[in-house]
Subunit: 449 residues, 2 copies
């Protein structure tokens, strides 16, 4: 337990600093090499890299509709129902996020609009480690479906038999994914960015991944013009704000659910109650023993932070300074703290709102900014599958009323071509509207020279 | 004039490809060196780099309120009025973009919300080349003001007397900029990302700049955790879609207003009318001679594209393939083409809507995605000064109704810590609500083991 007020400002910041991500030159070169293989050799590189990294020689990359239908039949009724419930929950929340056009007549005859268009083609990366991740398929697939992107492409590394998990295929089918490929790692991101004989390139790639995937996303987004990624990635993290009203067993369970993600998971508890922190420590020890992934969780817990503050206001300040991916507020009146929260990816209010609920089925997205990026990046939402652009339409009278402003500013900025684009239109006011060649007309009237 | 249908698909794409941005290793190293100087030496490096690159030894970096007041007095009534009019226009359009919270009860007892918070501190980079750019101050400053960011910091390179232009200071004052520094180039971006003795770091930097600034934004956004930039940058560009109803003189003026930005500006005209293209060519030659920046414009025009298509539908397809920053549609019924437009930064409809209007005063933002990035990036808008995050609140009954879905999926994904965070809460249902130590209670009832 760390007593916050006993630390200097520098010590406080150091306590909340994320572990430095090693600038791994070897990883960077290895990924760059994979990317250039895919760029140069296309499908051939995809097959050989899959054999090298996933240990399987595939005969084709694309999953067929027959395989999807087989997956549906292979799953239990309970599992199909669970995937379907999560799908409906996520859909319910995301479809309420449809972008609305903004139209303003900023002055008579000057109409400005902000409108949205779905990104034409999107790539969804689904990791496959120890277990399938249908929840991530839904978190990426549902907003892509709701935005109605023309091409929704899903990639996921094959298992040792060259297959994708039934759960992944069923979730993808619910989201009307257009193309599914058994392909993972940096080579999958390269295929989505460059394209190959089999896979046409996409405009934007979404989704979590291991360090190869993350490095490939980073390199390609810097390298390929017009290619974008969802957000920067770091280890997953949770911060819990608690008071003496909180239930230690619930908090311990929440901390452990974060810790079991990986040895680099970040787990932080901030409380004004010393006894609460002590009780959580006891509950952690007790519950840890029951976890199947206790070795992973234990490693993560060695990096955990249990911080005692004078009051909840300071606890909220600590949270804002840390800017957590997940923020759980288990206090007597969590909404009172919420009004002070500035930086977070997703917030969980009260005793009965575990992070697990948001990870799977409350309806919110589980792709969230980590590593302090919640200060500047948004949680994944429907908006990320769109771009906004502006449209303006001005009448001749509207342009005339703006002209003094525009021409004064073009003078200030020394751009007389910009000025001329306005004045040439207003000079025309004196001439006939239907003139076939306004330049000639203008010359005849001795204007514009 | 290029006849579109006579080209192969590869030739068509090559025609629309942006010129490759040279991977300039020398620039990259030079900028990296500047960044590390600022990181290590702070203010001292800022002063010495300003002396080196801007040729002026400053005694202080920050502009005082007295200097701002002097700037107001120094400007003509007309210029003050023009800045004020542009400010009001931009404000009128951007304040209509205030983000709205989304709240959905996705099922009884499960409430999900998407909410927004202003980014706490923002840096606004204003270039200063041949002339001051008050319009850019307004395009960045107005949304920062409307979002009510806590710290709005403006940086702009000093002139040969160590001053900023009066127009820049007056526009900054209108936007309630909190801190103004006479500082430009890569060193300004480094100061905003790392901080120095005088300048506290900011979370996100906005604005255009030369290749040093662009390279610094790119490097720092990759390097400094939690630091973000507005969007990738490339040369400015316009594409005009025209038919036989279009006025060649207007189109020529629009193409030239783009061409005068710089020798690398991109200028594209697409029309179904051969005679229109010929007339525009004539008008271009005639109007070019009158421009003060004709040498710059002429260089840009050597890279221009005049493309003849069979019909307007194909012209729109060409535009979508190119994905222009600025798109001007001067046809008989521009709204008919607009419905087919997928990719653009800002669209200008009809004969009396020159790009200049959007550059200064229609109300739309002139910071736009270039280089094909309008396929994936949004035009700068109020949303870029906010982040969205989610909030959920679940009742015990709500959690119970979600539990079968969540626990089935945690089983599928092998995350029993996630499962336990749900089940431990529901086991408690049988116990007394006010139990001080629910673990003990749980033990007594033989649960949870």
């Amino acid at each position: 337990m760390i007593i916050w007020k006993n630390l200097t400002a520098e010590q406080q910041q150091a306590l909340l600093d994320r572990p430095a991500i090693a600038n791994n030159e070897q990883l960077s070169k290895q990924v760059a090499d994979i990317l250039s293989q895919v760029k140069e050799q296309g499908d051939q590189a995809l097959f050989s890299l899959t054999e090298k990294f996933d240990g399987i020689a595939l005969s084709s990359l694309q999953v067929t509709q027959t395989q999807v239908e087989q997956a549906k039949k292979a799953l239990s009724t309970e599992r199909l129902a669970a995937i379907n419930t999560a799908y409906e929950q996520i859909k319910s929340f995301h479809q309420a996020q449809q972008p609305q056009d903004v139209v303003v007549e900023t002055r008579p005859g000057v109409i400005c609009a902000l409108t949205s268009q779905a990104i034409e083609s999107v790539g969804l990366y689904i990791p496959a480690g120890s277990a399938p991740l249908p929840s991530t398929v839904l978190m990426l697939g549902v907003p892509a479906q709701l935005a109605n992107c023309d091409r929704k492409v899903l990639v996921c590394p094959p298992d040792q038999n060259g297959k994708l998990a039934n759960e992944v295929l069923v979730a993808a089918d619910l989201c009307n994914i257009d193309e599914i490929y058994t392909l993972g790692g940096a080579q999958a991101i390269a295929a989505l960015a460059y394209g190959s004989q089999t896979i046409k390139p996409v405009c934007k790639v979404f989704g979590p991944g291991n360090r190869f995937v993350t490095e490939a996303k980073k390199q390609l987004s810097q390298q390929v013009p017009g290619f974008a990624i969802d957000m920067p990635a770091g280890p997953s993290e949770v911060l819990v704000i608690a008071d003496s009203n909180s239930k230690p067993a619930f908090i311990a369970a929440d901390l452990l659910s974060q810790a079991e993600h990986g040895p680099d998971s970040q787990v932080v508890l901030v409380s004004e109650s010393e006894s609460l922190i002590t009780e959580v420590e006891q509950a952690l020890a007790q519950q840890l023993a029951q976890l199947s992934r206790r070795d992973i969780a234990q490693q993560a817990l060695t990096q955990s932070r249990l911080i005692l503050t004078d009051n909840l206001t300071t606890a909220v300040q600590v949270s804002n300074q840390y800017a957590p991916e997940h923020l759980i507020i288990q206090t007597k009146d969590p909404k009172a703290q919420l009004t002070q929260i500035r930086n977070a990816g997703s917030v969980f209010l009260g005793a009965y709102t575990p992070e697990s609920a948001g990870d799977y089925a409350s309806g919110t997205n589980h792709v969230l900014p980590t590593y302090g990026y919640s200060k500047v990046c948004s949680s994944l939402s429907l908006a990320d599958f769109y771009r906004r652009f502006t449209v303006q339409e001005i009448t001749k009278a509207g342009l005339a009323s703006l002209a003094p402003c525009i021409t004064e500013l073009t003078d200030a900025e020394g751009l007389d071509g910009h000025k001329r684009a306005v004045t040439i239109r207003l000079e025309q006011q004196a001439t006939q509207e239907q003139t076939a060649n306004p330049i000639e007309q203008s010359k005849q009237q001795g204007e514009g020279q």
